[in-house]
Subunit: 460 residues, 2 copies
């Protein structure tokens, strides 16, 4: 009766608390070509730590521009709170392998077990901590699907800060539970675009009924931070210091893959602004820079918001209103308005400066996933592994499935590692729409990309 499984197989790999990495990995120190600098839009001169610390905490600004230190210590109070959920498990996806009938080994780093349900807490905690240490009392931010906002709400509470969150309107309506979570932690949540900022008013008068985008929400949060005393702005992706904080993911994963006695041939993350992709990938990429390893890195983006595969490499703003410094990025243009797909966290026009340079230099690839393929992959994964993935993470799963099938066709047994950035338990309305057959693939005409990218100033 119990002969199905002959031998005990280890499935989940978890690090003892004393082996959790105590420093973040700063990939810029090892990059053969450093990213081009962020610049001041008026003078076109590189931004300084002083410029950035008007907006961000001083320590975040320092980390943003740090190109030399390979490792940056994680402050002890942050490490203490990391222990609430770290290390997250590395899991061998035996169920998915069986469902696909492939010989490749598929692993996922399960960031969905964070109390907030995603990897976003990894950067929310240090950002809130630095603000508190510097005497800041109020912080602002934006959130797309709500994962970042929920994480920061808890982090703000943990360090005694007041938080105002601009939540992209379409998500505010599609994901009311994420709003409630933020409120349960004590944050204020405002649907964006709102009438509370000039940026919000401008877009609402130009485009009534606009459903919002991350770009607009960032403008509103930045504006509010600027006009509020003792207030800083925080961001959940795109920036170098955010990717830095997320490298805890990949550093743990490398140790855990070692426990499993394997090393990945392919590393995959879904891609919005780049935070979970970067966090998982960069620690593995050090060994590619050094020539020790040949590993493939794939960033999975929605076909409806394809900055990596169809965007241009140019200086652009991080937000819709043009409040931020200009960054060298693969971009669809800062006033590109992404389709209302259900992976709200991936609806962003540009990629961070580090990732953009790495893509340009051929260290990584972008891959476009149509919406229906992403949900089909997510449902298959849910049925095989018992975890309902976030719509964002479904893109990474879809890429992992493509790789496993390719390897099978080509007679290879690859080791495939992807990041399960979050669970989808609060995104069930999206699954409802998928199961009811109401979702579609958005085909993005080239003219739309040309329209917004042609407006960009030619700096590079």
């Amino acid at each position: 009766m119990e002969t199905t499984y002959k031998k005990e197989r280890q499935k989940r790999f978890i690090l003892p608390e004393d082996q959790i990495p105590t420093a973040w990995y700063n990939v810029v120190a090892d990059m053969p070509n450093k990213p081009l600098p962020m610049i001041n839009p008026d003078t076109h001169t590189p931004v300084t730590e002083d410029d950035l610390s008007v907006l961000f905490s001083r320590e975040a600004a320092r980390q943003e521009l740090n190109t030399t230190d390979r490792y940056i210590p994680i402050p002890e109070p942050v490490r203490e709170l990391y222990k609430n959920y770290r290390s997250t498990p590395l899991v061998r996806a035996y169920g998915l392998e069986k469902a696909l009938g492939v010989k490749s080994h598929i692993y996922f780093k399960n960031e969905s077990v964070s109390p907030i349900g995603s990897h976003k807490l990894n950067s929310a905690l240090p950002q809130a901590y630095y603000c508190q240490q510097e005497g800041v009392t109020n912080i602002t931010t934006e959130t797309g699907a709500g994962q970042w906002g929920a994480a920061l709400s808890y982090a703000a509470r943990a360090f005694g800060l007041e938080l105002a969150v601009y939540m992209v309107k379409i998500s505010y309506e599609q994901k009311p539970y994420r709003r409630s979570i933020m409120q349960t932690f004590g944050a204020q949540v405002i649907a964006s675009p709102s009438m509370s900022t000039r940026a919000g008013k401008d877009i609402l008068t130009a485009h009534p009924n606009y459903q919002g985008s991350l770009g607009t929400a960032i403008s509103e949060a930045v504006e509010l931070a600027r006009i509020t005393p003792n207030c800083k702005y925080t961001l959940g992706s795109v920036m170098n210091h955010v990717s830095l904080h997320q490298t805890i993911i990949g550093q743990e994963a490398e140790l855990q893959m070692h426990m499993a006695g394997e090393y990945p041939d392919v590393v995959i993350g879904c891609f919005g602004g780049g935070s979970n992709f970067s966090g998982l990938s960069f620690p593995f990429m050090r060994h590619v820079f050094s020539g020790e390893k040949k590993t493939r890195f794939i960033a999975s983006e929605p076909a409806s918001c394809p900055k990596l595969t169809r965007g241009v490499f140019q200086y652009d703003y991080g937000d819709e209103a043009g409040y931020t410094p200009m960054m060298p990025m693969f971009t669809l243009g800062h006033d590109f308005s992404p389709a209302n797909i259900h992976a709200g966290g991936l609806r962003y026009h540009g990629a961070g400066t580090i990732v953009s340079q790495l893509l340009k230099d051929g260290f990584m690839e972008g891959e476009d996933i149509p919406q229906l393929e992403s949900f089909a992959a997510g449902q298959l994964f849910a049925q095989a592994e018992g975890i309902v993935p976030a719509p964002e993470s479904c893109h990474a799963i879809a890429s992992a499935i493509r790789r496993a099938r390719e390897a099978e066709t080509q007679g290879r047994e690859d080791v495939i590692l992807f990041c399960l950035s979050g669970h989808g338990l609060i995104d069930m309305a999206s699954y409802d729409q998928y199961l009811a057959g109401n979702l579609m693939n958005y085909v993005l005409p080239q003219e739309e990309i040309d329209k917004t990218t042609s407006k960009l100033e030619k700096i590079i």
Copy 2:
């Protein structure tokens, strides 16, 4: 700058996979007074394995009546799927201790990290497995808040079974995301009472607009299983075999408390039918039976459904229509209609036979928690530990907070252990109601209890 935490403190205790217990603990074998038998309502004779296996799988029926084997091996395919999420972490709640300002040590066993978000998977997997092994193709069940239904939906999928779930109507409406989760795994979900069964029709014609209860949903699921070929019924609580499967929780917790170098003075679980309370408590209770330890066990129930503290000890049915055998239980009467509180999983009229005997014999206590106190405890816990607890689990948290404050007042430093049976991320509509001040405490008049309990046949 980093002087706040002098010394590394271990926060989470996780067992290596090879130390996860390989057998369940059958408390009945050790009980000084065995529970009275379940009886056939017509003949008043004890039910047999054959009687029970009309409804349940043969192996579940066998386990239900097993009073002699202290340990029952966990089948290997079930252990394999347990490894997807077990061991669950034992966590020292430093944040909560600090928020309360107490010297007692508070620990929680975090069952919310199961992919389904609660402890229910621990019994769903073996129940589905036994059915599959015995050639069953279809199973039915009921679900209150939806935690059990979600878990069984995944388990049914894992073992290739068709599943129909009767979901209590009030929860079907309050918690649409749980319905979607079940559907994502491929289960059919029907709001109960429904017109698809005689039991449903009877209550809907007698009480139009009835919002449902677990008792009614059980009747519907039992009826459907009876009239469907090759179909068995499964249950997420109350029965002995369910408590048995849940003892994986307490066995792990004991090993993990040992890792932490402590032993609990008090063990607490919220209480609906008894599954998470029993699962955590029974393995610790063995040492009380043997005289080695003096430990206090507290079952936290909602003040609006107080079978342990205000119910009567009598033979009663497990369901509203009277389809099940009669069980010796603390009960409010099988046609007691609990108030529409938000902890849907605790809205059940009776306690299982084992727990009822243990309560009668003074090995454990019941404690009533008003609804507002439960949510206040839940929000405090969320802000302190970052995890939004299920409304059910909030009751256990409230009891833990009461114990910690009592100990403080009395100058003691107790070690308090409670079960975080699930997270509340899908219950945010309830938190919304709480935060908006729309919830109230239900004061249950004695006449209401008398009305339903006085109708019970006097067998004991």
